[in-house]
Structures are given as C-alpha cells and as structure tokens.
Symmetry: C2
DNA sequence: AGAAAAATTGTCCATTTGGTCAAAAATTTA
DNA sequence: TAAATTTTTGACCAAATGGACAATTTTTCT
C-alpha cells in the first residue's frame, strides 16, 4: 500500500529512515518543499547528504513519504464518527480530536496545509477519491441524523469544512493567534475548546431542545 | 508611509511597477517566496529580469511590497465594524465582507496565509502591534454588546479567529473544497454564505431572543 | 577470521538562480 | 536637433543545491 514496503528493512534501515523522516518533517514544515534543502535535513538528523540519498532516491521522494504518512493521520479521526453514537457527542468528539492534533502535531498540520495551499500537486487525486468518499459517507450519516430529528438541519459538507478550518487555524496560523493572545499553549487550547464546544452545541442542537448551557433538572 | 514613495514616479515607472506587482502576486501566491523565481515573474509580466531589478532592488523587496499592500486590505473590513450598528448585523456584515474577499481575491488570501503559515517573518511585529490593537478595540466592542445583553456571551477573540478561519478556508484550501464538492464558484460561495450566516446567527443570538429563522410579526 | 553485503562519506558536477554591469536603445529636455 | 537622462537588455558571475559515484568503512554472514 505504501510506496515503500516497510517489512524487509534491517534495524539500521528502519532507524535511519525514521530519523530522516522526522528531520524532514521539521524542515519541510518550516520551509516547504522547495526551500527545504537536503543539507538542512542532513544537519537536522545528523547524517550526510549522500547518506540520506542512500535511503531515499530523491528529495521529492522524502517529501512524498512524509506527506503520505500525514494523510492517514489526518483522515483517521473521521472514521471514528459512529452512526450509532449520539450525534452531538460524535461531532463534538471529532472536533476535539482535530483540535488535539492541532495542539500536539502543529508541524504536521502546517505541512499538510502548505501542500493544499499550493494546489496539492501530490494529493489532489487522493483528496478527490479517498477523502471525498469517506466524507460523503459521514455526511450521509449527518443527513440521516438530521432526518431523524436528532440534529439541527446543517449542511454536512460545510460543517466539516468549518470544523477543519477552525481547529487547524490554531496550528497553522499559530503565529497570528499568538501575536494577538498572550496565553500559553495550554490556556489557549483550553479556551479554544470551550469556544468551539459552545459553537457546535449552538449550531447542532435542535431549536426546541433542552437548554444545553443551563441544566435545570 | 510605504517603503517606496509613489508620488514622484513617471508614467512609465508607475506602469511597470504595477505590472511587476501584479505578476509577482500571481507567482508568489502560487509558489511562495522561495520557489518563485525572478524569471517566472519576468515572463508573467513580459519584462526582462534585469529590467525588473531596475525597478525593485531585489526579489525580497518585491515580495515585501506586495505583502504590505495585502495587509491593509486584510485588516480594512475590521474597521467597518461599528459600535453603533446592530451587533449581529455588524458581525454578519464582517463575515460576508471576508467571504467576499475569499471569493474575489483568492491569490491574495493564499499569499497572506502562506506568509503566516511560515512564521510571518516580515509581518510578525505588525501583527503583534497594529492588528492586535485593532482587534483589541473590536473585541472591546463585542464585550460591550455582550454586557448590554445585545449579543450572546462569546469570546470575542476566538469569534474573530473562527470567522477568519472559516471564510479564508474557501480561498486558501479551495483545492480541497473543490475536490469534495463539484459546485461551481458561485454555488459554492452561496452555500458557504448561507451556512456561515446560519452559524453566526445561532452562535450570537441570545437564547431567549426572538426566533431568527422564522419571523412572526 | 575472512568474504560478502551494507552503509557511509569526500569529492565532484550540472543546473538553477539572484543579482551585476556595461553597452545600447529610447525618451525627455534644452 | 543634440545633449542629457532614463529605460532596456545581453552577457556574465558567484552561490546554492540536488544528485552521482567511486572509494572507504562498518556490519553481517559463513
């Protein structure tokens, strides 16, 4: 499935490839594909440039490997949304999972964002097939919930777009966020979670439902 | 105020500088600062590379000029938010203004996003001073509205973050959006506006307020 | 241990690219 | 129109960079 089979690798190969990928993530997420250099990656992982090219045939290939690894992580939380669960809980859980990734893996988020921002030349077809199919399924679940009266009437696609946008914003544009708010990382994400929870609750709750912000019983 | 005074320029200078900036916006927004080349910009505006360097002293300077122009446009809609207006209308108007920019100036939006994504090396201090100050003022207005009972209780900073994130998403990540939805540009932004209007209405309306989706009187 | 295989590196190369510069062409000014 | 000024360009350069490769070192296998 992966472009590189990972089963028949020696200990050394596994270690070095791991080091390279980790360093490459750092460098690529900071500089982007073009302005990242093999020398920077080499320095970051303590290897020589030719040594890196012994493990990966080209800079592009390293980038491709790293990016491919990210895509799976990026899509994974979607699969956790269960038709059987309580609609609002499922969607709140999804938002929290995405927000958690933004907090814990900002570099990965930025690299992914950068790729899409520049036209996703390496992922466009995957987006249009795999991601699209998965999302279609989840939107169908949302439509189902809506039709059963378990959820306010929302456009499922745009709901996902907005969850992606709002959660990733805290990772991708952290420089801007931190230029405006002085909070430390923990405070910031705590606030964000409260804000987004409130937003989704208001957005998704049925108008005539029980009052969600103030429990009476 | 600008890094380059624009008053004492001849007709030729004005024309050529304009051409260069326009071409530079195209190229920079597609490739980013580093992987954009002077040759690409030269081709895009039909000038020679040395000719471009006759008008701008370096590639970095062109980038700086272009970027600086964008910042003003980016912040401008914020100033339109009036303390005197009806809170929800003001904020809906702001969202619509930002969404309109995403639709009509996607390249500008992407260039801006790219800069922040990579740490905003050229704008960090402006963000932390000018933008921050403006935003502080507008958040104060929101707090005021909230305290007067004209608006649901929301965190003003995160409200702006989410409006930025959600509206810019349609420009910055258009590749992803279009990989998932087949709609044409007009349909897409129409849907987005409806979705975001509904979202903000639900988010900002007071719980016990009049029913906003169905007018009774 | 010794041979074979794998891993590592120093050196080198070709291309790309930002930028220079002097000469030429075009425009403006007197 | 002729001089002065501005604009344009072809040729060129130095630095950066992705990558090749043969030689060397290290590890693995018998």
């Amino acid at each position: 499935m992966n472009a590189v089979e990972e089963k028949n690798l020696s200990r050394i190969q596994r270690e070095k490839r791991g080091k390279i990928q980790k360093a490459a993530l750092e460098v690529f997420s900071e500089y982007g594909l073009r302005s990242a250099t093999l020398d920077k990656i080499a320095t970051a992982c303590g290897l020589t440039k030719p040594n890196i090219l012994y493990y990966y045939s080209s800079k592009d290939q390293i980038y491709f490997e790293v990016l491919n690894g990210l895509l799976d992580e990026w899509v994974a939380p979607l699969h956790e949304i269960s038709k059987e669960g309580k609609p609002i809980d499922e969607l709140l859980g999804y938002m929290k999972a995405k927000l958690k990734i933004s907090k814990q893996k900002p570099k990965e988020s930025k690299l992914f964002a950068n790729e899409i921002l520049h036209g996703a030349p390496l992922m466009q077809n995957i987006l249009a097939t795999s991601l699209r199919q998965t999302l279609d399924e989840k939107v169908a679940v949302i439509d189902h919930w809506v039709s059963e009266g378990k959820l306010a009437n929302v456009n499922g696609y745009h709901l996902f777009f907005s969850i992606w946008a709002m959660t990733q914003h805290y990772a991708d544009f952290d420089v801007q966020v931190k230029a405006i708010l002085d909070k430390n990382e923990d405070e910031l994400f705590q606030e964000a979670e409260e804000y987004l929870t409130n937003l989704l609750l208001r957005m998704l709750s049925l108008p005539s439902n029980q009052n969600h912000s103030i429990k009476r019983s």
